[in-house]
Amino acid sequence: MIKTDALIIGAGPTGLFTAHQLKLIGLDCEIVDNLDKIGGQCIELYPDKPIYDIPAIPECTGEQLTKSLINQLKPFNIKFHLNERIDEVKNSNNKWEVKTNKGTLFNTPNIIIAGGVGSFEPRKFSVKDCEKFENKSIYYSIKDKAVFKDKTVSIFGGGDSALDWAVELSKNSKVNLIHRRDEFRGAQSTIDYVNKLAKEGKINLFTKYQLKEVKGSKNLESIDIEHENKEVKNLKTEFVLGFFGLIMQLGPIANWGLNLNKKTINVDTEKFETNKKGIYAVGDICNYPGKLKLILSGFHEGALAARACFKLARPNEKYRFEFTTSSKTIKSRLGVKDD
């Protein structure tokens, strides 16, 4: 059981800056994120897209912003739990007991949800019966490529993941690559290489096709794919891989008894607290009159939620507002010399 003053859900810009605010006022915190890396939507959705409305930063990409925020956290030793999703939250003696999908347990007076639009999950096939074969013959990510050796693998998608795996698996497997149009959006060098492998017969390329049906009783035996012009082809295949990127889903948060408004959580604008004492929501996931889904709003919300955490984490102390420019205490926390 990990005890901490505050647990932050979500390692996007809002979660990162909220951690900074908590550490400045002398509270410790840990961060959980379902992605395998730090940065949230900034790193997953638009690492290369420029952002123009971060105060004092005329232009930066999602990746640069993430790097700067991580850099800003350097004075502090913050534990990240990546690849983990919070599944259960329950109250026990005025504290929250929190459990992740990997079984990590936390005990904390404060939970700050900085979860964007929820956790990122792979987009799945919509075709009937795909669920039945999921994680047996149909995969949305690859953990062990050895299972595909000498088998037929049908890969769907047009981005880098689909192309990279088509190239990699073509070394030891029979590969079908199926995409809904005839342009791919991966790196040009990979696209050229895939086309070369297709010419050499090492990859069977099917463009303007989509999955129509999966067939098989116990194991997957074959699939039907349908062309834009409605022509149907049957492909014998032992495995199907789908690479359609990630979708954001609120996930288990929906079951914690919070006051939801569509996919957002209602909060007050003093503490950014939800209807549950000690659970706050900041950034894109929170909702209040006038809410703007801007990164800068998340920073403000996190700063206020952090102050609210102080009360519950240090019930016998009084919070005193201080500036980083002049406070000796804060400077020592930051590890900078006071002059």
Partner: protein, 106 residues
């Protein structure tokens, strides 16, 4: 004010007056039309405001910009009349536009 007609997957039709300059996505969200999620808020980063444009309207719309087709790859059951409604700006030219909403967005 231009009218935009949203047809849900179950056939239910909504005719909504939308101010010029808003997007077809914003028009749906502000009027609580079910079936448009718009998770990313209109930054062309999520493909959850996906619509099918009625065939006769499809070619009258401004062409897709860079990146929209890439995002449509991610959409739920896209077809050749697929557009992201956050990229369709309402104007007098598209008064009467009919968009069909997919069964779901993800």
């Amino acid at each position: 004010m231009p009218k935009i007609i949203y047809i849900e997957d179950n056939g239910k039709s909504h005719t909504i007056d939308i101010s010029n300059g808003l997007t077809v996505m914003e028009g749906a969200v502000q009027n609580n039309i079910p079936g448009i999620d718009a998770d990313c808020g209109g930054s062309m980063a999520c493909a959850t405001c996906h619509v099918y444009v009625k065939e006769d309207w499809f070619n009258k719309l401004p062409k897709k910009e860079n990146g929209e087709e890439d995002m449509i790859d991610m959409a739920y059951e896209p077809n050749k009349f697929s557009r992201l409604s956050c990229q369709l700006t309402v104007s007098d030219e598209i008064d009467g536009l009919v968009v069909q909403l997919p069964k779901k967005q993800a």
